[in-house]
Subunit: 142 residues, 2 copies
DNA sequence: ACAAAAAAAGCAACAATGTTGCAAAATAAT
DNA sequence: ATTATTTTGCAACATTGTTGCTTTTTTTGT
């Protein structure tokens, strides 16, 4: 597991440092997505806030994690599982945000749908965020 | 036009004040969506920053405007055209964000698609944001 | 294993954004 | 017109994000 982390960093031409190992570890041990605040709390006790910002930034650039837009003005981050690479993401799955537990999940198997746009508009990327109740929060009988 | 603004405020049980008239006017004279920063710049010169926050908040609550999530951590706001009411939005259109001019548009005629979710997930609301080149920025010949 | 070079982390200072409580002012109701 | 209600502006503060620079750590090459 810890070797896996080092390998991932090496594969992306990143030097192995404490903060990168720690933060990447957080993502690997996490089902859903993480908001910046979560990461600061969990990792930031050991590291400077600025380091967390810079680590997340470089992880996004390298295609290790991707961002998920949400309506509450706090970006979430999640691991890329679509073989993204430096400067080129191709995450095309949708995201689910539970209004109950407030977790955000990548639904990696659900591909973003095609959207027919009005004449003149050209699409390069589609983000779909579905809100509702997640499988863990589903009411027992419903 | 100015009567229209007052009527909208009255219809929503809001008292008629300078800041509300001004900010609602901005939205009515605007094709795309407005980021908080835009509104502060255009209206905030006359009004306190706090007033802008509170005005936007109450407009959202009343169903006069809705928010649009974006990946750059700056919520955009746009007029509701779907007869939204207090506490109950039913904007079901998609949004388009131009990577060139950075405008955000409501594509009011394009309804959000149905999404087939994995077992256990229940959807209550769907947000779709398409990125690309808008009709105004389209390259001449393409 | 060591020294030199390169990269990252930490620190401090700052900018931008968002929140809250309260007194003064404006608006609405009587 | 007076009173009651609502909204505003202000001040103070909290949170979030950015930048430049020095020190420390990691990597590279020997
Ligand atoms: Mn994802
Ligand atoms: Mn819209
Ligand atoms: Zn849940
Ligand atoms: Zn454009």
């Amino acid at each position: 597991m810890h070797e896996e982390i080092k390998d991932m960093l090496k594969k992306n031409n990143l030097s192995i440092t404490g903060s990168r190992e720690k933060i990447l570890g957080l993502f690997l041990n996490q089902e859903g997505a993480l908001a910046h605040g979560d990461i600061e709390k969990k990792a930031g006790e050991k590291f400077d806030r600025v380091t967390v910002y810079r680590t997340l930034q470089i992880f996004v650039e390298k295609g290790i994690i991707h961002t998920i837009p949400t309506a509450d003005n706090s970006i979430r981050y999640a691991l890329c599982k679509d073989n993204c690479s430096e400067g080129h993401h191709h995450d095309q799955h949708i995201h689910f945000q539970c209004t109950n537990c407030h977790n955000t999940y990548c639904l990696d198997d659900i591909v973003t749908p095609d959207i027919k746009l009005p004449k003149g508009y050209v699409s390069s990327h589609i983000e779909v965020v579905v809100e509702g109740t997640c499988k863990n929060c589903k009411s027992p009988v419903a």
